[in-house]
């Protein structure tokens, strides 16, 4: 495989390559690389580490605390988000984390306690590459989602339509493939779902359940919530709706109807085997078409994680990630609403664009200790472990192949291209940092 295609694959299937990773894959067959990605992700699930352990600073005997302990107590959601981001940056089994991030986009939930949020995240990660059937059954019963969509006190005398509506509209079928009456009938079937507030375990309260006959999507019976989910999964439209979302996240915002139909068959026939669907996408020729390369806008998580992987600069501190992601519009476990986060150009507004394109300046200023007091960094109480990356060449290998980069740079103002052409690749490290700064603050770095 060519460098440009390997980089494309790793940006989409993961969070970009780390320095010197490219040479491990150049020249290998596509099948081998895709299998590596899948096997690496499926071998075993990395554990979320939520310990307050220290992080060693490279080339120094110093250690920095992972989190400010006072803040860890106050902001446990932030701790959880950081633990997950750490896994993404570490880059082991990266496709699992990327797919779990997709599921967090697609089955969004927010505003719940640390314990409930952790259960929810572990479900997304566990079933990320498995069967969507298992995932949606599990997510429907996880207390975080039940609470988020008010399904934990739905009673036969007052069925709650919130969860069934979003299940049909957003999670599985899409608008136009069910009626308002279907929502009402489904709501009756979900009555009696409860969870134990001490153990956070789901249970079924028969006395609150509507035992009557429901008519849902043309079928009638004494359906339970599980039956409703199975009936939905039996619709090919469910596979189509999911394939569309996955295509928009991994391939392109503009859908190709022929490919969507083909992938829908693959997903439906495999009974929603997500790993198989992704394999089909990553092994295809069209996935590597020029039209798709750099056609997406990085999500804020992809941007921050990718930056850390490529530069090996490490952002530390709960508030560092949290504030930056918040200002960029993607606080984890706090989506704006059940519709999830925006996509494409919608990520870009006059607030987010400043943080998205300028955070590298702050980061490097901090790493070089040239940052003014009272700056963003100072307010964030963050620390950044110094970068191990000392070569612009390695960085460029991680983001893009150099020829394409220079092509892009020809669109930059003349002085910039001159800067890059004249840059001494073997020169002193400060020069390399400048180069990385130039590139990471350019609009192209926002693309995925």
């Amino acid at each position: 495989m060519e460098a440009i295609h390997i980089q494309h694959l790793f940006r989409r299937a993961g969070f970009g390559l780390g320095p010197q990773e490219l040479k491990r894959f150049v020249g290998k067959r596509k099948e081998d690389i895709v299998d590596f990605l899948l096997e690496d992700a499926m071998r075993e699930q990395s554990k979320l580490v939520i310990l307050n352990e220290d992080i060693p600073v490279p080339n120094s005997s110093m250690r920095l605390p992972r989190y400010e302990s006072f803040r860890a107590e106050k902001d446990k959601r932030g701790v959880l988000a950081n633990a997950w981001l750490d896994l993404m940056v570490a880059g082991k089994g990266v496709l699992r984390e990327k797919m779990a991030l997709f599921w967090h986009h697609h089955l969004p939930m927010g505003g719940q306690s640390f314990e409930l949020t952790k259960c929810y995240l572990e479900l997304l990660r566990e079933h990320a590459l498995g069967s969507f059937r298992d995932l949606i059954h599990a997510v429907a019963k996880t207390p975080a989602m039940m609470r988020y969509l008010d399904n934990h006190h739905s009673h036969k005398d007052a069925p709650n339509e919130n969860f069934p509506r979003e299940l049909l509209e957003l999670f599985t079928l899409g608008v136009g493939h069910y009626t308002l009456q279907d929502v009402k009938e489904a709501a009756r079937a979900f009555t009696g779902w409860r969870y134990n507030h001490d153990t956070n375990v789901f249970y079924f309260d028969r006395s609150a359940h509507d035992e009557g006959i429901k008519t849902f999507l043309g079928r009638s019976g004494r359906f339970t919530g599980e039956d409703i989910i199975d009936i939905v999964l039996a619709q090919q439209q469910c596979a189509r709706h999911l394939v569309r979302a996955i295509y928009r996240f991994f391939v392109d915002q503009k859908e190709d109807e022929d490919i969507i139909e083909y992938l829908t068959d693959v997903y439906y026939e495999s009974d929603y085997n997500t790993a198989q669907l992704l394999r089909e996408i990553f092994l295809s020729d069209w996935f590597y078409g020029n039209v798709h390369i750099n056609s997406l806008v990085k999500t804020p998580v992809e941007l921050l994680v990718g930056f850390q992987r490529q530069t090996t600069v490490k952002l530390i501190g709960i508030k560092t990630h949290d504030q930056l992601l918040w200002k960029m519009g993607q606080r984890l476990f706090a989506p704006p609403n059940v519709g999830g986060w925006p996509s494409g150009n919608q990520w870009i507004n006059t607030q987010t664009v400043l943080y998205r394109t300028c955070f590298p300046i702050i980061t490097f200023a901090v790493a070089n200790r040239t940052v003014p007091r009272k700056s963003l960094y100072y307010k964030l109480h963050s620390r950044i472990a110094h970068s191990e990356l000392r070569s612009f060449r390695y960085f460029m290998d991680a983001v893009y192949d150099r020829d394409s980069m220079f092509e892009q740079l020809s669109e930059l103002p003349c002085s910039w291209s001159v800067f890059f052409w004249n840059m001494d690749i073997e020169g002193p490290e400060e020069v390399h940092e400048e180069g990385i700064l130039y590139y990471t603050t350019s609009p192209y770095y926002q693309l995925n």
Binding site: V175, N294, S295, V297, W326, K327, G329, P336, N337, V338, G339, G344, N345, I348, N349, T350, Q351, T352, V353, L354, Y355, T357, C358, I361, I362, A365, T370, V371, P372, R373, K374, S375, L376, K379, Q408, E411, L412, P413, S415, W416, V418, F419, N422, V431, E434, Y438, T441, S442, P443, Y444, Q446, L447
Partner: protein, 396 residues
């Protein structure tokens, strides 16, 4: 920019605070135009404020019967009229009412209400009901910006400022969007570097869009930076107080901004409402009182209109957790020295005939307020921004 210039710019980072503001300030102090026109401040009480416990129908028996635990006792009320009162912890609001700079409209809401915070906030900010447009992409102020940008002498983004922490749909237009002042705080140190970035053009459609928005953001930041000054007035030390102080500073120094958006969060009082609402309302009253005093001293409150609203009201009947659940109709509050009509302007909620789930019914489409502001305050035809024609009110 060559490498030497770049390194010089990096040096700014090291020199920091003392140097950079001067550089920013030097970009055209003599060209500053001081705007002296009508302005609108939108203050969103996030979470759904309980209007019935803010502006209390103190003669209504149904109010007391529906809220055995939450109704505010008569000895804790300040009478505004012979049927309306505010709790004593909203003394500052009562003072503004007696000043004659407050207009209240009751039973206001969307003709097609929604009890989700997010969806309902979108309805209020887009000014579209879900039937009219299911997934609105623009806010009503954003659409105003689109229209006004054609003849604007200042960077159009500076016409609307979001002083909340995130960027609201309210200020998003199809082509133009308002700007935030959060970025101004965080990035003014880096402005010299940013300015090097924004003059290029790109062929890639997404990259060029990004570049366009970034240019707008940086230009807006540069422009507005000139209008900030330390505030001499005492504002309460809350987040709301800080936002109001910033807005007042921009207004007093003649910033070109017409619209300001501010939020105060925490009104979603399903649980333990009395203590929480008490704290929020006293914070709100203190902030507004300082703001009014500040602008009045500068003679500018007659040209400033503050519109205070929530995404929905709360249920009439209290719940079992000493709180109230999401409702529908609510009271909105308008503040200005330029009001033609002040006081309580229409009928109080009719608690005898409630909407479907024990909710205050909507008798006034919230967009009538927007239409009034557009037509009679800002002097632009409302249908150019709002979906259709809405009967105007007489508060201005």
């Amino acid at each position: 920019m060559d490498r030497r210039r770049f390194i010089q710019n990096s040096a700014y980072l090291a020199v920091g605070t003392t140097f950079v503001p001067q550089l920013l300030a030097s970009c055209g102090t003599d060209t500053i135009k001081r705007f002296r026109g009508k302005r609108l401040v939108l203050l969103h009480l996030q979470g759904g404020n309980d209007g019935l416990n803010t502006f209390v129908p103190w003669r209504n028996d149904i109010y007391y019967a529906s809220r055995p635990n939450l109704a505010i006792a008569k000895h804790e009320l300040i009478e505004l009229t012979d049927e309306l009162a505010t709790p004593v912890w909203a003394q500052d609001l009562a003072d503004l009412y007696f000043d004659g700079c407050m207009a209240l409209y009751h039973n206001v809401g969307s003709p097609q209400p929604n009890t989700s915070h997010f969806k309902s906030t979108d309805i209020w900010h887009a000014a579209f009901t879900p039937n009219e447009r299911a997934n609105p992409r623009t806010g009503w102020i954003g659409r105003y910006l689109d229209m006004a940008s054609r003849k604007s002498e200042v960077p159009p983004s500076t016409l609307a400022v979001d002083a909340s922490e995130t960027f609201s749909l309210l200020l998003k237009g199809e082509n133009i969007q308002g700007c935030t002042i959060g970025g101004l705080r965080d990035f003014s140190h880096f402005a010299p570097y940013l300015e090097e970035l924004y003059s290029t053009c790109h062929e890639h459609p997404v990259a060029s869009y990004l570049q366009k928005v970034r240019s707008e953001a940086i230009v807006a930041m540069r422009t507005l930076h000139q209008y900030f000054s330390p505030n001499a007035f005492d504002y309460p030390p809350s987040v709301l107080g800080a936002s109001l102080a910033q807005v007042a500073s921009l207004i007093k120094n003649g910033a070109p901004t017409l619209f300001f958006f501010i939020t105060q969060g925490g009104y979603d009082t399903h649980l333990a409402q009395p203590g929480r609402q008490k704290r929020l309302l006293s914070e709100l009253g203190a902030g507004l009182k300082a703001f009014v005093r500040d602008l009045r001293a500068a003679g500018l409150f007659k040209d400033t209109l503050v519109l205070i609203y929530s995404e929905f009201g709360r249920r009439v009947k209290e719940n079992v957790n000493m709180g109230t659940d999401h409702g529908v109709g609510n009271t909105i509050c308008i503040l200005s020295d330029g009001l033609k009509r002040a006081g309580s302007c229409n009928e109080l909620p009719d608690l005898n005939t409630l909407a479907h789930r024990n909710d205050v019914a909507v008798h006034m489409d919230f967009r009538r307020v927007y239409a009034t502001v557009l037509e009679k305050w800002l002097g632009v035809p409302a249908p150019s921004v709002l979906p259709g024609h809405f009967e105007v009110l007489d508060f201005v």
